[in-house]
């Protein structure tokens, strides 16, 4: 589970719970100028994830950590596909973040309206 918030021109993502251990990262800060958009996307769990770097992948259970796919680095932290959102970045370490959040529609609206 991740929490997203906007603070002083930055998007701040905080990973909580056990995923925090598996994802090996507890906080990601991205300037809003490097955020291209956010989308509710439960179907993304069915996509190939690519090659895993530090992190964990128990197929069908949880995906957390950094994955490499098609020359891109993608950060995953999803257990419940129904609550998955995708945040597209540019000029950042990660091409996109795929996160599980408590209220996907609220999180996406928060980000899209801040851009």
């Amino acid at each position: 589970m991740a929490h997203v918030r906007i603070e002083g021109g930055d998007l701040i993502v905080e990973i909580e719970g056990l995923n925090k251990v598996w994802a090996l990262k507890s906080r990601i800060t991205v300037p809003l100028t490097n955020v291209r958009g956010a989308t509710v996307d439960p179907g993304i769990m069915g996509e190939p994830k690519g090659v895993r770097s530090p992190g964990t992948h128990m197929p069908g259970v949880i995906v957390a950590g950094t994955f490499h796919s098609g020359g891109e680095r993608i950060f995953w932290d999803v257990r419940d596909a129904r609550k998955a959102i995708v945040i597209q970045l540019e000029d950042e370490q990660y091409a996109r973040l795929v996160l599980e959040v408590d209220d996907p529609h609220a999180a996406v609206d928060l980000i899209e309206h801040a851009l």
Partner: protein
């Protein structure tokens, strides 16, 4: 912007106009877009940033093409029923504009800018636009009025 190619962006946006115009914004999933647009999920996000980014691109294209074409039909046709009938049977399809007015314009200022642009364009062609919009909505729901069928 460093956009990836490998797909025809204009064509993909065109397909999105059709999809969003039939299914609405909320009713169209990224899975729907990926399977109908012939675009990989990664390319979709890289090119448009989000589903909303693609929706805005689709709406802009819709206003520039379809709404502009509808304005021409409006301007060229005298009777309001005949104009709406022509659009309902021969196009352009104004589904995206009609849905955007109801679904997204009230909650998304950038969508509202585009729908206002569309309405201004149509009103230039047709002073009785509000009546025409009502007829378009009714026609979308129940089909063209029988008295005009076969005209």
């Amino acid at each position: 912007m460093g956009r990836p190619r490998g797909f025809d962006e204009d064509e993909a946006v065109r397909a999105a106009v059709g999809l969003f115009g039939r299914q609405s914004f909320a009713g169209t999933s990224v899975d729907d877009l990926v399977s109908h647009l012939g675009v990989h999920r990664g390319s979709l996000y890289k090119t448009f940033g989000s589903k909303r980014g693609l929706y805005l691109a689709a709406l802009r294209q819709h206003v520039d093409r379809d709404v502009a074409a509808a304005a021409e039909v409006f301007a060229a046709t005298t009777g309001i029923d005949a104009a709406v009938h022509r659009i309902a049977t021969a196009g352009p399809d104004l589904g995206l504009l009609l849905l955007a007015l109801v679904e997204r314009a009230p909650v998304d200022p950038e969508v509202a800018v585009e729908t206002s642009r569309a309405l201004a364009r149509l009103r230039d062609a047709r002073a009785d636009l509000d009546q025409a919009l009502g007829l378009l909505l009714r026609t979308r729901a129940i089909g063209p009025a029988p008295e005009f069928v076969g005209e």
